[in-house]
C-alpha cells in the first residue's frame, strides 16, 4: 500500500511522552457534580450573553449563553437543574481572574431538552454555520476557536484538503488518542460533514506513530471512505501544532498572519470533528469533552467530563494523592498552573496534571546564554531563539519583531533544550506583551492627538463666533449711544479694545463706550481697594487693567 510519508518540519523535540499511564483504561464517564460552574466565555471572541435568570430551571443541553456576534459560540447547560447564581468566579486561566459564570445545581434527572430537528444536509450553508455556533462547537485542541468560522460553505473552491489533527504531540495528553480508539467512526462521520461543508476533496488524518491503537481504529473506520487517508507521522513535538501539522502533511508552510485556507487547507482537531458529528447528527450541543487526568493520581485515565465540573471533583474521582502542589491544565510544554482546584473543566481543558515535586525533573538554576544554538536547532518556526532572547532581554523590541518574535508559537522547544535553563518563552511572552502595550499606547496617543486637534479647532471656532457676537453687540451699543454727547476727553487716548474692529466713522461713540467701561471698572476696583488694599488704588488707573477686564 502506497502510504503517504509526510513532509516533516524543521526542529522539534522528542521528550519522554508520559502517555502510557493514562492509556491503559478506557474512557470513564465522570460522575455528575452537584454543582456545575459554566463560564460564559469559553471561546476565542465575544463573551456570550446569558439567557437564563437565577432560579430558572434548565434542561440538559439548553442554551444558557447566546453567541455574542458571529465571532463567538454559545454555551449550554451540561445537565438539568436550577440556575443558582450568575456571578463572577475564578476560571481556569493563568491570571486567576474571575469571569462571569452560570452556576447550575443539578437535579440528578439529567433530563435532555426536547431535540430540535435540524437537517443539515438540506439547510443552507449559513444556517449550518449558525447551528454549529449555537451548538457551541469550538476547537477542542485547546485554542477554542469557534469552528463555524473555519468553514466556508458555498465557497466550495476555497479548500482542497481537510486535515484532522490527531497528532497529540504533547507529553501526558491522551484524550485524542482514547477518543480515536473508542469513537473513530463518529470522528470520521464528523470529518465527512466537515469535508462537505468546506468543500474539501481529500481528508488527511495526521496521527503520531506512538498511537498504534488509534491508527488502527481510524484506519478501520475509514476503510470504506473515499478520500480519507490516515497518515502516520513520526512522534516529534510539536507535530500537533496546526502549522507544523499542515507542513508535515502537505509541505505547505502557512506564514504568521496568514490563514491556511489561503493555501487551500483547513485543519480541525479530531475532538472537534466528533463534536460536529454530535451536533449535526444527534442535535447534541457541546456540553462535555474528554479530559486526561494524569500525574499524582491513583487511577490516571481519561474521562468524559461535563463542562462545568469542578476540577477538584474530577481529581478526587481519580484519587489525587497527597503532596500535590499544583495542577497543570494542558500539557507540560504549553499548559499552565491552575489558580485553584475549584475552577471548572472548560471546553479548552484537554488534560489535568496533578503535580508533585518528583513528577518532572526539577529545572536547574538559570545560567548565562552561551549562544550554543541548541534552541535554533529545535525551533519549529525556524527562528533564532537566542537572538530573540538577547533582544527581549535588552528591551530592543523593534529588533525582536524584526527577528520574528510574533512568528514564535510558544511551543517551548527552545526552553526545553536550553542547557542554561533560560525560561526563553517567558522572555518572548514579555516582548510580545510589551509590543502590544506600546501599540496600544500609540493608538491611545494617536486618539489623544486627534482629540487635542479637535479641541483646538473647537476653541478656534468658538473664539471667532464670540468675536462675531461681540462685533454685533458693539454695533448695537454704538447705535444706542450715538445720541450721548462727547464726554470722552479722558486720560485714555489709545483705545485698548482695538480688536473691536477697524476705526469707524463715529470715533466719538467708541470713546464714549470706553469711557463708560472704564468708569465701571474704576468704580468696582475702588470698592475693592477700599476693602482690601488701599495702597494699590493707583494701579486701578492703569490702562492695562481695562484691557484685562475686556479680554
Amino acid at each position: 500500500m502506497n502510504r503517504r510519508r509526510g513532509f516533516g518540519f524543521h526542529g522539534g523535540i522528542e521528550p519522554n511522552s508520559y502517555k502510557s499511564e493514562t492509556t491503559r483504561l478506557p474512557i470513564r464517564v465522570a460522575p455528575i457534580s452537584e454543582e456545575l460552574v459554566v463560564p460564559l466565555h469559553q471561546n476565542i471572541g465575544g463573551t456570550p450573553r446569558p439567557l437564563v435568570r437565577v432560579g430558572e430551571y434548565v434542561f440538559k443541553g439548553q442554551r444558557i449563553g447566546a453567541a455574542d456576534g458571529n465571532i463567538s459560540a454559545a454555551v449550554h447547560a451540561p445537565t438539568s437543574g436550577h440556575v443558582t447564581a450568575l456571578e463572577l468566579r475564578q476560571v481556569p486561566h493563568a491570571s486567576g481572574l474571575a469571569d462571569p459564570v452560570v452556576v447550575i445545581r443539578a437535579d440528578g434527572e439529567d433530563a435532555w431538552m426536547a431535540p430540535e430537528p435540524f437537517d443539515w444536509r438540506a439547510a443552507p450553508p449559513d444556517a449550518v454555520r449558525d447551528y454549529l455556533r449555537d451548538a457551541g462547537v469550538v476547537g477542542l485542541g485547546g485554542a477554542v476557536f469557534p469552528s463555524h468560522l473555519k468553514m466556508r460553505p458555498g465557497d466550495a473552491d476555497a479548500i482542497d484538503t481537510l486535515i484532522l489533527n490527531g497528532a497529540e504531540c504533547e507529553p501526558f495528553i491522551t484524550c485524542d488518542d482514547l477518543l480515536m480508539r473508542e469513537r473513530a467512526a463518529t470522528i470520521l462521520r464528523g470529518a465527512s460533514i466537515l469535508a462537505r461543508l468546506t468543500g474539501a476533496r481529500e481528508t488527511l488524518v495526521g496521527i503520531e506513530d506512538n498511537k498504534p491503537e488509534a491508527i488502527a481504529a481510524m484506519r478501520q473506520a475509514g476503510a470504506g471512505m473515499a478520500g480519507v487517508e490516515v497518515v502516520v507521522l513520526p512522534t516529534r513535538y510539536p507535530t500537533g501544532g496546526a502549522k507544523q501539522l499542515i507542513r508535515a502533511l502537505t509541505g505547505i508552510e502557512v506564514p504568521h498572519g496568514a490563514r491556511s485556507t489561503e493555501f487551500g487547507v483547513q485543519c480541525f482537531n479530531v475532538g472537534t470533528a466528533h463534536a460536529v458529528a454530535d451536533a449535526l447528527e444527534r442535535g447534541r450541543p457541546l456540553i462535555s469533552r474528554i479530559v486526561t487526568v494524569a500525574g499524582a493520581v491513583r487511577t490516571p485515565r481519561n474521562y468524559e467530563v461535563l463542562i462545568g465540573t469542578p476540577v477538584r471533583e474530577l481529581l478526587a474521582d481519580a484519587g489525587m494523592m497527597a503532596g500535590v502542589e499544583r495542577v497543570l491544565m494542558g500539557g507540560p510544554m504549553m499548559g499552565f498552573a491552575l489558580p485553584g482546584y475549584a475552577v471548572p473543566v472548560v471546553k479548552a481543558t484537554n488534560c489535568l496534571i496533578a503535580w508533585t515535586p518528583g513528577l518532572l525533573p526539577e529545572q536547574p538554576e538559570e545560567r548565562p546564554c552561551i549562544r550554543c544554538g541548541a534552541c535554533a536547532e529545535v525551533c519549529p518556526a525556524d527562528l533564532q531563539p537566542l537572538e530573540l532572547y538577547w533582544y527581549a532581554r535588552g528591551n530592543q523590541f523593534g529588533k525582536a519583531q524584526e527577528y520574528g518574535v510574533f512568528d514564535c508559537i510558544e511551543c517551548g522547544c527552545c526552553a526545553y533544550v536550553c542547557p542554561s535553563n533560560i525560561r526563553l518563552v517567558d522572555y518572548y511572552r514579555y516582548a510580545k506583551s510589551e509590543i502590544w502595550a506600546s501599540e496600544r499606547d500609540k493608538a491611545r496617543a494617536d486618539a489623544a492627538r486627534a482629540r487635542f486637534d479637535a479641541r483646538n479647532a473647537r476653541i478656534e471656532r468658538e473664539k471667532s463666533e464670540r468675536a462675531a457676537r461681540v462685533a454685533a453687540k458693539t454695533a448695537a451699543s454704538r447705535a444706542a449711544v450715538s445720541a450721548i454727547p462727547d464726554a470722552s476727553a479722558d486720560g485714555v487716548s489709545e483705545p485698548s479694545v482695538s480688536n473691536a474692529g477697524p476705526a469707524s466713522g463715529s470715533e466719538a461713540a467708541k470713546h464714549a463706550l470706553i469711557a463708560q467701561a472704564l468708569a465701571r471698572v474704576r468704580a468696582r476696583q475702588a470698592g475693592q481697594d477700599v476693602a482690601d488694599d488701599p495702597g494699590g488704588a493707583a494701579g486701578a488707573h492703569q490702562p492695562g487693567d481695562t484691557g484685562h477686564t475686556t479680554s
Binding site: I252, E253, P255, L328, I370, A376, D382, Q384, E387
Partner: protein
C-alpha cells in the same frame, strides 16, 4: 512558578563542558605519551590559575561563586590554552596566560556568554607576542630525541631551569616556515628537502600527527553527541584542504601538500575545539560555515605568509570580530517566509 514549559532536557552547561573536557582526554594522553608529562603539569597550572582568577573576579563583581565555578567553562578555557602552549614552558607563563584569558578576555567583557573573543586564543596571542622565544621551545619527539621525564619536566616547569638544548626545537610548521625562507644568496629552497629534515613522520611531524588524530577522535565524539554541530569542523578542514591544495598544485615545489596542513599544528584542535566555541563564534548554520571557512583561509595565509608559526589563534580572533555581521547577514528564513508553494491570492471579502 514561571510559565511553561515545565519539562526540561537534562543536558545543562556543566554537562556540555564536561563532555568537551572528556573529548580532549585522548589528545592529552597521546600528547603526554610523545612529549612527556609536561603537558599534565601545564594543565594543572592553567586550571588552578583559571579557577583562582575566576573566583577573584566573581568576588570583585559581587557575584556568587558556586554557579560560575561549577559550569566548567573556566576549565575548558584553561585546558585549551594549556594544550596550545609548549609543554615545558615555565609555570608562570601558563599561569599568566590563563589569568589573562579569564580576567581580560572573559570577565572584562561581561563574563560567560558575553566575550567576543575566544579567551584561550586571546591569551595565546598575547603570550606569543610578549614571549616569542619561550613560545617556540617545543619538545621534540621520536628517535634520536630524548623525552623529558617527570623529574626533568618538573624542574623545567617549576624550577626555573632553561637547559633545553637537545630536547626542544621547532615544531614541524615552524621548521617549514623558517626553512622555506631560505638563505640569502642561495638557491630557493625546495619543500621536499625542507620537509625531509624536520622530523616529519608520516604526514605532519613525529608525534604531532598522532596527537591530531586523537583530537579528531574526541571531536568526532562531540559531533556524534551533538555537543558541537558538524558545520564548523567540516567546513574548516575542507576549506583548509582546498586552499592548501590550490597553492600546492600551482607550485608544489614550495608549498606543503594539503594533508600536511590539515593535520599539522593546531588544525584538529582548532577545528573541533576552538572554532566551535559557541560564545565567540557564529550561531546560524550558514554563519558557522562562513566563520569556519574564514578561519581556515586566514590560518593558511598566516602559516605560509605570516610571521607566526601557526595561524589558528589570530585567524580565530579576526573571525571573532566578524561574528556580529556574519550572524546578521545569515539569519535563516522563518517558517512560512521561505519560497514555498504559491499562496492563493486573497479573494474579495476574505477578511
Amino acid at each position: 512558578m514561571s510559565g511553561a514549559p515545565y519539562l526540561h532536557r537534562a543536558r545543562s552547561v556543566p554537562v556540555i563542558m564536561l563532555w568537551v573536557l572528556a573529548a580532549l582526554l585522548p589528545g592529552i594522553v597521546v600528547h603526554a605519551g610523545f612529549f612527556g608529562p609536561g603537558i599534565l603539569m601545564q594543565l594543572v597550572v592553567s586550571s588552578l590559575a583559571a579557577l583562582v582568577a575566576e573566583s577573584a573576579v566573581l568576588a570583585l563583581r559581587g557575584q556568587r561563586l558556586a554557579p560560575a565555578l561549577s559550569d566548567g567553562s573556566a576549565l575548558v578555557t584553561a585546558f585549551l590554552l594549556a594544550l596550545c602552549l609548549p609543554p615545558l614552558s615555565p609555570w608562570w607563563l601558563t599561569a599568566l596566560g590563563s589569568v589573562f584569558a579569564i580576567v581580560v578576555a572573559k570577565h572584562l567583557y561581561g563574563g560567560l556568554g558575553q566575550n567576543p573573543f575566544n579567551p584561550a586564543m586571546a591569551a595565546y596571542a598575547m603570550l606569543i607576542v610578549a614571549f616569542p622565544a619561550l613560545m617556540s621551545q617545543w619538545p621534540l619527539a621520536g628517535e634520536g630525541h630524548q623525552v623529558a621525564g617527570f623529574g626533568e619536566s618538573w624542574r623545567l616547569v617549576f624550577g626555573g631551569e632553561r637547559a633545553l638544548d637537545g630536547i626542544t626545537g621547532a615544531t614541524p610548521l615552524d621548521a617549514l616556515r623558517t626553512g622555506m625562507r631560505g638563505l640569502p644568496g642561495a638557491a630557493p629552497p625546495q619543500i621536499s628537502t625542507v620537509m625531509a629534515g624536520s622530523g616529519l613522520g608520516v604526514i605532519a611531524g613525529v608525534g604531532w600527527e598522532w596527537v591530531a588524530a586523537a583530537y579528531a577522535l574526541g571531536g568526532l565524539l562531540l559531533v556524534a553527541l551533538r555537543v558541537i554541530s558538524w558545520h564548523v569542523p567540516t567546513t574548516f578542514l575542507v576549506v583548509l584542504a582546498l586552499i592548501s591544495a590550490l597553492f600546492w598544485m600551482v607550485d608544489p615545489a614550495s608549498h606543503a601538500p594539503p594533508w600536511f596542513h590539515v593535520v599539522a599544528g593546531g588544525s584538529m584542535l582548532g577545528a573541533f575545539f576552538v572554532a566551535t566555541d559557541p560564545v565567540s563564534g557564529a550561531s546560524t548554520p550558514r554563519g558557522k560555515c562562513l566563520f569556519a571557512a574564514g578561519i581556515a583561509v586566514l590560518t593558511y595565509l598566516i602559516r605560509v605568509f605570516g610571521a607566526f608559526p601557526d595561524g589558528i589563534a589570530f585567524a580565530t580572533l579576526i573571525m571573532n570580530l566578524c561574528v556580529p555581521i556574519i550572524d546578521r547577514t545569515t539569519q535563516p528564513p522563518i517558517f512560512g517566509h521561505k519560497q514555498g508553494p504559491a499562496r492563493r491570492g486573497l479573494r474579495q471579502g476574505d477578511r
